[in-house]
Amino acid sequence: MEEQKQFKHPSFYPGDAPETEHPFSLYISVWILLFVLSAFSYAVDIAEVEGYLRWFLVTIFAFLKAGLVVGVFMHMAWERMAFLYAIVLPPLFLLALVGILAVDGAFVYYIRDLFMPLLGE
């Protein structure tokens, strides 16, 4: 009996193909994608984009690259869901800590701005 044929990339179906069957082309395309994303974030600097737009773009490109490296190069995309949650969620919770530090940092800056000129010279 003839097997049903449908087009799909041989790699992007978890559990579908063992790691032995990843074609080099998958890694090369991810590699090129990483190059392009790096070039984009470099372009942000060359174009002298400033302020919130700069931070937003730089962060977006960094997280896209991180996703590609973790997902494809480190084979996270082919791991079971529970493992993915165990690895990816804890660092995301640290973002709350980053937010708290940002609020506190703004406060410290305000205090220093207020008092440090009084101490100088």
């Binding site: 790691e19 890694y27 470099y42 490296v69 084979h75 980053v98 940092g105």
Partner: protein
């Protein structure tokens, strides 16, 4: 982050500090961009090495790992160039510099220093793994998983660099 956020003095402009003088003009962050491309490429070759390992292609795996290690050596070499330029020519010290907030030097040397140390350790590690692959150790075990483990280490070092590039150099 909190340290950087709280400095009264302005933070040095990284794209100026890390500019490279090429042909009469300053190209911002040129060396850093090249280093980024090299490290990403070495991550790519490492991923291919892992795949060849699963296919039990002994020589191909070993040479791809060695190529990865070579990328690491190039990276650390360029970092040495960067450090000596900053220390000897720009006079940046962990406790102060001419460009702005004093904390900048401490940040820079600690962050890139630890990362560079990990790259150097990775180069040694990869060389050992490549030698073991060539010796046929993993063929005898019929298990190339150690290559994947080495790959995970290397990709993580690359991952950290992605964030350093974004949040230290470009921020």
């Amino acid at each position: 982050m909190a340290v950087r956020l709280t400095t009264i003095e302005p933070w040095p402009n990284t794209s100026q500090v890390f500019a490279l003088h090429v042909g009469g003009t300053d190209v911002p962050l040129l060396l850093i961009a090249i280093m980024t491309f090299i490290l990403i490429s070495s991550s790519g070759t490492m991923a291919m090495a892992v795949t060849s390992g699963y296919k039990k292609q002994r020589k191909k795996t070993a040479y791809l790992i060695l190529l990865t290690a070579l990328g690491g050596v190039a990276f650390v070499g360029m970092q040495m160039f960067e450090w000596s330029k900053l220390i000897f020519e720009e006079g940046i010290r962990p406790w102060g510099n001419e460009f702005g907030a004093n904390q900048f030097g401490g940040f820079f040397f600690m962050i890139t220093g630890f990362h560079g140390l990990h790259v150097s350790i990775g180069v040694v590690y990869l060389t050992i793994v490549a030698k073991r692959v060539l010796d046929g150790r993993y063929d005898r075990l019929n298990d190339y998983q150690m290559v994947e483990v080495a790959g995970l280490y290397w990709h993580f070092v690359d991952l950290v660099w992605i964030f350093i590039f974004a949040f230290f150099y470009l921020w």
